[in-house]
Symmetry: C2
């Protein structure tokens, strides 16, 4: 009789990914489902419930012992999603209150960055590290902190939002309405900002030619694609981007002194073309790195599944 | 028969403060000693040992159950001081290895910011808070983090050094050799930097007149003293300073989501003239403060004794 499995759901702005996991081998899902995200809180709850029941039937006759859900936004300690920048119109959604009674198993609801951090710390790139950060570089920056082997949630549940550290007072406008946030420089949005400035200043002519000179169409992907193909100007913009990423990582290292900094998110699908310049820049930016012999910057191992794996693992009782 | 007391020693760049404490009432020391700091690692160890033995005899016939020592610098998880910016010539000092055998009681050696944070969280301004930050504004910025009721040390013991977060890339030179650290803007040194710039730009004429127009002599204390006396230009520089402090506090709140941010250090002896502008600036800088109903910025309660009190408490077994 195999142990009960755990179900992990990762809610994103565009899609919802669900996994059924064996707690003893969570990196190899037993079942996987994905749907496009609907709008509105009620639809979100219905979609999650449908996906959980679907995964439950996928693994039958095996039982399900826990369900975890990761949400992209500020999630309280009681699992209520207060706001999510990529979930327009969804405010104060309490998945736990609706789903826990009907599902009848232990549930956890947490921020998606916390989930990804927990997954990478338990069975990914930071396995064996009690002090680890996950930093996800996508449209924005998601993050989760593990300190002394536990996820840090803070007093309200909102810990781990370094994307909105001010690193340039009065700097580039951020989606949050403030100026000079790390996310405005060191995310996909940040790379697009840097690329536009470089193009205007004539430092990205090759890339601009490829897209017909339409500055407004310039995106981060154009720069990374050109860098992969050996465009020197694009590589220079990537190096500039890497420095901005490293400034924030160095700030986090000064505050938390982790042994593993795991870089994930959709941008890191590019691999070494981003990871290596970020590592090099971190080695220049970090304070007293010579004394921090255990601190490593590594690429995530669980990829797009990290959030769902971590959500499933966070729902398990601590002893498992 | 009263419980054994604990001894806490706070080593600073200019003086060493020692307290004998009743663990049940640590805010009222049983004995107190202070000496000027000598130079050199061997002298430091001898001074600390002399002070411990002195305090021990001060409280006789009561017994001593533990000794804790706070050091101003990077202290490893095993209690070795690697480097301390205000302890010139003192590198890789292992107080524990020398003193633990001769004293024969449990000992703790930790960073002084960690000690102060622990003291304020246990019996000071953050009492009752499981998630608290201590930020000490003096010549530099010292700090300690309490998360989930425990001091955060990180993978090497170097957590809690936000003074060296980069908040202005390429900005003002910091004592650490890097550019644009928070400490270069939001410490006593930072206030002096801001004051000199204001004076050069003709925004601090009254203060400059008082010190005979000698720009090189201008210090932060001149600005705070003038602000206390109602000088509007000085108050404007204090407001500017408060914004820099708040930027760093906001960054820390985004990362750690504390319920209490305790401001201490020698600068905070000034009280409301600094605390109120910092609170006002934090309310403007912080992200989603409306959702962080528990987050308060408060003045430290233990003053110059915080480090020694916390060192003594950290040396106690966890159950006390």
């Amino acid at each position: 009789m195999p142990a009960p499995c755990t179900i992990g759901i990762d809610v994103g702005g565009t899609k919802i990914l669900g996994l059924a996991l064996d707690p003893l081998a969570p990196q190899r899902p037993l079942a996987e489902r994905e749907v496009a995200s609907a709008h509105g809180g009620a639809n979100l709850i219905a979609q999650v419930e449908t996906m959980v029941r679907g995964l439950w039937s996928d693994v039958a006759p095996r039982s399900v012992g826990a369900v975890g859900i990761g949400l992209p936004g500020l999630v309280t300690l009681r699992g209520v999603l207060r706001v999510g920048p990529n979930l327009p119109g969804i405010v104060d959604v309490d998945l736990l209150a609706v789903l826990a009674p009907t599902l009848g198993v232990p549930m956890a609801v947490d921020n998606d960055g916390n989930c990804a951090a927990w997954a990478e710390a338990r069975c990914g790139a930071a396995r064996g590290n009690d002090d680890a950060l996950f930093v996800g570089l996508g449209t924005g920056i998601s993050c989760g902190l593990v300190v002394d082997g536990r996820v840090v949630r803070g007093a309200h549940g909102f810990a781990g939002e370094p994307g909105h550290m001010t690193i340039v007072p009065g700097g580039t406008a951020c989606a949050c309405g403030r100026l000079g946030c790390w996310e405005a420089y060191a995310s996909g949005t940040g790379l697009a900002n840097l690329a536009r400035r470089a193009a205007v200043e004539g430092r990205l002519d090759g890339v601009l030619r490829r897209i017909g000179g339409r500055l407004a169409a310039l995106r981060g992907e154009h720069v990374t694609a050109a860098a992969v193909e050996g465009d020197g100007e694009a590589a220079a913009v990537i190096a500039e981007f890497a420095r901005w990423v490293a400034i924030g990582l160095s700030n986090l290292a000064n505050v938390l002194d982790p042994s593993a900094i795991v870089l994930g998110g959709t941008m890191m699908d590019l691999g070494a073309i981003l990871l290596e310049p970020i590592r090099a820049a971190f080695a220049r930016e970090a304070l007293e790195l010579g004394l921090r012999s255990h601190t490593q910057v590594v690429g995530a191992q669980l990829g797009r599944r990290a959030g769902a794996v971590g959500a499933g693992l966070l729902a398990l009782p601590p002893s498992v």
